[in-house]
Amino acid sequence: MSDQNSSNDDRGQAYTLEGFVSAMVVLMAVLFALQSVVITPTSGGLSDRSVQAQLQQEAQDALVVSDQEGNLTLSNTIRNWDATDDSGDKEQFYKASVPGPDGNLTYNTTEFKSQSKLGNILKQRFADNGYSYNVELIYETESNDFDTTYLVYQGAPSPDAVTASYVVTLYETDKLTATKSITLQKAHDNPKYDYPIPETTTTGPVYNVVEVRVIVW
């Protein structure tokens, strides 16, 4: 009888432990499921914070490097405005062909590559690897608002897009770098050329301060 009782005691202990283990299995499953909600987006795509930081750093470096490059600096790219007016209708960046959201023509990635160092780097690193990007110029207007002109427009960015920006100072003596070498002031004032960036400072050699923003997604 006592042996029988002892055997029953062991069995009770085993049931108790089985109960604990079952609870642990269920808890682990729940914990794992919760964890995987966080883990899933990090396992590859853009949402991974370290990948995003990496992309942002690369876009930032592309801007810095392209501002150091001889005749294709960022300032020259901003001033690459077609003032010949030979098309008879739209004023645009030199050899741009894609309609942008503000009515002006913008570059596609291949055109932008042939026109600037920045375009070259962005195409090699981002466009050729399946990323999309916009390149925007943001500047102050005469009424102290901000206005945006697009160099490259590939649609509205997705929520996980990353942004890098670089500020370029334009000077009063700077001239358009495309077909007609006239000062920015003339190009802005003459409605035939309609250069979008106005002069906003009253004194000194500065014309305007422009932010070049690259958005990658």
Partner: protein
């Protein structure tokens, strides 16, 4: 009959114990993984901000130097303090830069305590009257253009004159049979150097002895520039007052501040010599 039954139960307990241990280890791994992940996130965003602050600082320095240089060429600086005003007060450069920077990132960028030193700036040939004072700094920024010669004669107050001729063949320069393979070069005729030392095709000591025609311990009446070289700029700094009213900024410094919710950064930018190296 009893003994085997009891053994079987013991085996079940051991098995369950082993499974429990395995799950505990698995739990530790999951928790540890979570800790590592959190750390990665917090680190990456801070280091990004630091890089951003550095880029903004560098960009501002570059803009200030370019403003000074453009102002020199356009004759914008009509008296001392006009450069400082253009950057910080009436010229609104600082305000505008602040606005544009704040529009692009959650950060405050500011330039303050701008200091500039002025010398005589010219793009004309002829005499630069130095008013019997000592010359600290004289830099010629030359472009080879379509070729030609620039003769520089320094007439000291003790009636001695020293001279150097810089000859351009349209693609490179030559100073007393020393070739300088550069289209656009800055010649410092006080210490006898040029800005890009790798373009010098002879021994740098030879170039220095030919080019360095001004003795900083002597006083000079004037510097005479002549010849048929088209494009050049000269900036002269004397120990006395500026030789005449053609002001040019030759040295500048400023405090640069960058503040965001992650990085707070303030530094004095190194003093930069316009048309020369930093000090």
């Amino acid at each position: 009959m009893v003994t085997p039954n009891s053994r079987r139960d013991r085996g079940q307990v051991i098995l369950i114990g082993a499974i429990t241990l395995a799950f505990i280890l698995l739990g530790i791994v999951v928790v540890f993984n979570g800790v590592l992940y959190t750390e990665t996130i917090s680190e990456s965003s801070t280091s990004q901000s630091t890089a951003d602050a550095e880029v903004v600082g560098q960009n501002l320095e570059q803009s200030l130097v370019e403003i000074a240089r453009q102002g020199n060429e356009n004759g914008n600086w009509t008296s001392s303090n006009t450069f400082e005003d253009a950057v910080m007060n009436s010229g609104e450069f600082n305000d505008q830069y602040q606005n544009v920077a704040a529009n692009s990132r959650s950060a405050f960028v500011n330039v303050s305590n701008v200091t500039a030193e002025y010398g005589h700036f010219t793009t004309e040939k002829g005499k630069i009257y130095t008013g019997n004072s000592k010359i600290q700094h004289l830099v010629l920024d030359l472009d080879t253009g379509s070729g030609g010669t620039l003769n520089v004669v320094a007439n000291s107050t003790d009636d001695n004159s020293t001279s150097v001729s810089i000859v351009s063949d349209g693609s490179s320069f030559n100073v007393n049979s020393c070739d300088i393979n550069e289209n656009d070069a800055r010649f410092n005729i006080v210490n006898g150097t040029i800005d890009n030392s790798s373009a010098v095709g002879c021994d740098s000591d030879d170039l220095q002895s030919n080019l360095s025609i001004i003795n900083t311990s002597k006083s000079y009446n004037d510097i005479h520039l002549s010849g048929d070289l088209d494009t050049y700029e000269a900036i002269t700094v004397t120990s006395g007052d500026s030789p005449d009213v053609s002001y040019g900024v030759w040295k500048l410094g400023a405090n640069i501040t960058y503040q965001s919710n992650q990085v707070s950064y303030k530094r004095r930018m190194s003093t930069i010599l316009i048309d020369g190296d930093s000090e």
